[in-house]
């Protein structure tokens, strides 16, 4: 048996023990149902996503392709009509564009604008306009029709009633608002899950230290395998937890009214939903393993339960800090903050999950996952070495590469 296979087998032996020891206890049920008491986090997430969506509002437009001589009248009527709505119910900002050549082609081109989310385009004669709208934009269509009517009425009181033709069209790309919402939810989702789950790892070495099993393990298995095994075992617990709640919530969404389901339809990650789901799972795994490996290494140095409890605050602060950094990255894609968050190992999974929502390229994710996996290895190795030196009172005056020469 090769050394790698032996180490792998030993790792899985530790992982199996930890998984079974954790899951088959009454305490695990308490842990499993803890989210019921933590519903408030959902509210926070919702508020954050709404805030992201608001941030994207100034990136939305409605477009009217009308002759310049009617532009002023339309702008006036738009300003008047807007006042009839509450601030948060008003339509997107109006852009007036002069017709050029084929107005239908011009309207389709406007809908494909990459700088803004176009909520609707009006073109053709004002008395019989054509209105292009994305799906679920009935309100925008109604507003543009009313605006055409008001403009004609302002020029010729008592004139003809406007008869608009509605054409529903899909955007060629995902909406900026939907991307921002998806980005925030991705960052929040990874944060929420790791906040719940990764902190558990901190005290796992305490069990071995308290009941002296560590001596047996250290004699039989490389400490790196002990650390990694414990991390994998606890990750298995986390996956079980996520699987359980994912199934429950998945079933609950089937009971939601269609309007609520439609709201989810606006979550439009740039990489597409299936890839996004895969990347979300990958980044959750990496966030767990990264934070877990750090917490495991730090927690292994603690010698009493009190010390472990004392660690819970800094652990939470680290997680919240990473969340804040990654949230800023999701809000400002392409900025130096985003780059920093994507490169810094502990915030990288959060920030890259946000990036998956905002940017369609897939290759940076492969690079990021490899980068993060490397840091998991580094954190585990460092944690195990510190443990060997500090707790097992080992270490050598000679560096390890010289020691291996015999």
């Amino acid at each position: 048996m090769t050394r790698f296979r032996r180490t792998l087998r030993q790792t899985m032996t530790i992982a199996r023990r930890d998984f079974v020891a954790t899951v088959f206890t009454p305490i695990f049920l308490l842990f499993l149902f803890a989210p019921i008491f933590m519903g408030s986090f959902g509210a926070i997430g919702g508020l954050g996503a709404a805030s992201m969506s608001d941030g994207a509002a100034d990136k939305s437009r409605i477009v009217a392709i009308v002759a310049p001589d009617r532009a002023q009248a339309m702008i006036r009527e738009d300003a008047r009509l807007r006042r009839l709505f509450k601030r948060d119910e008003r339509p997107s900002t109006l852009s007036i564009v002069a017709p050029a050549g084929d107005p239908a082609a011009q309207a389709r081109a406007a809908m494909a604008d990459r700088a803004y989310d176009i909520d609707g385009v009006l073109y053709g004669p004002l008395a019989k306009p054509t209105i292009l709208v994305p799906p679920l934009s009935r309100f925008t269509g109604n507003y543009l029709e009313a605006l055409a009517q008001a403009t004609i009425a302002a020029e010729q009181p008592g004139a003809v009633t406007v008869t608009a033709t509605r054409v529903t069209t899909t955007r060629e790309r995902t909406s900026i608002g939907g991307q921002h919402q998806s980005g925030f939810l991705a960052v929040f989702g990874v944060f929420f899950l790791t906040l719940f789950l990764a902190g558990q790892v901190v005290g796992t070495m305490a069990e071995e230290r308290n009941n002296k099993v560590i001596e047996v393990l250290a004699a039989a298995v490389p400490l790196e395998a002990v650390f990694f095994g414990k991390l994998i075992g606890m990750f298995g617990v986390a996956v079980l937890f996520v699987g359980f709640w994912g199934t429950v919530l998945g079933q609950l969404t089937t009971l939601l009214p269609p309007s609520a389901a439609a709201a989810f339809g606006d979550l439009t990650p740039a990489v597409g939903v299936p890839t996004f789901a895969l990347l979300f799972a990958a980044y959750f795994s990496m966030a767990y393993l990264l934070l877990g490996s750090v917490f495991l290494g730090v927690g292994a140095q603690a010698s009493t339960m009190r010390e472990i409890q004392m660690l819970s605050l800094p652990i939470t602060l680290v997680q919240v800090g990473m969340f804040a950094l990654a949230s800023a990255a999701a809000r400002l894609p392409g900025s130096w903050v985003a780059t920093l968050a994507e490169v810094f190992p502990l915030s990288s999974p959060f920030a890259m999950a946000g990036r998956a929502a905002n940017s369609p390229e897939v290759w940076p994710h492969l690079l990021a996952l490899a980068w993060q996996a490397q840091w998991v290895t580094i954190f585990i190795t460092v944690g195990a070495r510190l443990f060997r030196r500090g707790v097992l009172q080992s270490g050598s005056a000679r560096p390890f590469w010289r020691r291996h020469k015999g």
């Binding site: 048996m1 050394r3 032996r6 087998r9 030993q10 032996t13 530790i14 023990r17 020891a21 206890t25 069990e207 071995e208 009941n211 002296k212 099993v213 560590i214 001596e215 047996v216 393990l217 250290a218 004699a219 039989a220 298995v221 490389p222 060997r388 097992l392 009172q393 080992s394 270490g395 050598s396 005056a397 000679r398 020691r403 291996h404 015999g406």
Partner: protein, 310 residues
Amino acid sequence: MTDAWAVTAEGLVKRFEGRRVVDGVDLAVPGGAIYGVLGPNGAGKTTTLRMLLGIIEPDEGRRTLLGQSQPRDAGDRVGYLPEERGLYPAMKAREAIAFMGALRGLPWREGRKRAATLLEQAGLGHAVDEKVRKLSKGMAQLVQLLGSVVHQPDLIVLDEPFSGLDPVNQEKLEALIVAERDRGATILFSTHVMAHAERLCDRLAIIAGGKRRFEGTVDDARATLPAQVHYLPHAADPAIAALLPHDAVPEGNGWRFTLPRDGIEPLLTPLIQAGHGIAGLTIERPTLHEAFVRVVGAVEAARQQQEVRA
């Protein structure tokens, strides 16, 4: 067991906070032997064993375990019972043994099967499915011991295996050690209880003050002290002293003295010719305990002298 030397150590040194806890220990444990590492508390026995097993790295020196310079490369062929016993309290006895076997490469299923058999043989058949936390300390210790042999290792390292066991369990443990040796395994164990070492060891080393002070067989150890003679004349007579060695001291109605290098016969002839006769004569070989006390006592005395001088 094919290795000529199951364990070798050359100049092992370990410092803790500047103090040389192990100070240049050499060991050579022959394959298939029961080898004892004897020493008083704090002599460096456990640290030496931990270095041999690769739990901690030596600061200086080199060691091999079953021919491997990296002890963990021989991990699957080694069983280890640490001084500080440790089991997962929520595990059943059978699972605990199988787990320890699994760490050393034994498949779980086979480990469980063997665990049940071993527990049965050790008289713990009733505890197969008991959780460790419900076992007595002695029973838990036996479970851990069985866990260290369940994968039928070539080398079994036991750190103070007898401490905490009642006499019945000590006897069981001795039988188990002998059975493992008969199977072909090498047993290396540390103890400061001489009776076990005297009964079990093929060879032994005495460690004191971090250094190896003696290495050899039990007989070799006992031979480091001369035998004592107890002579009982027909009648008490102070003039007898002139015919006895200088270290002779009265004891009861007789005399006690160290057996001379050239034997007892040259002494007896003059005693008989002088009419003192021989009412009783006993030659007592020293015990391992006495040899140990002498070796360790000399180290301790030297240490105390050093402290006084300092």
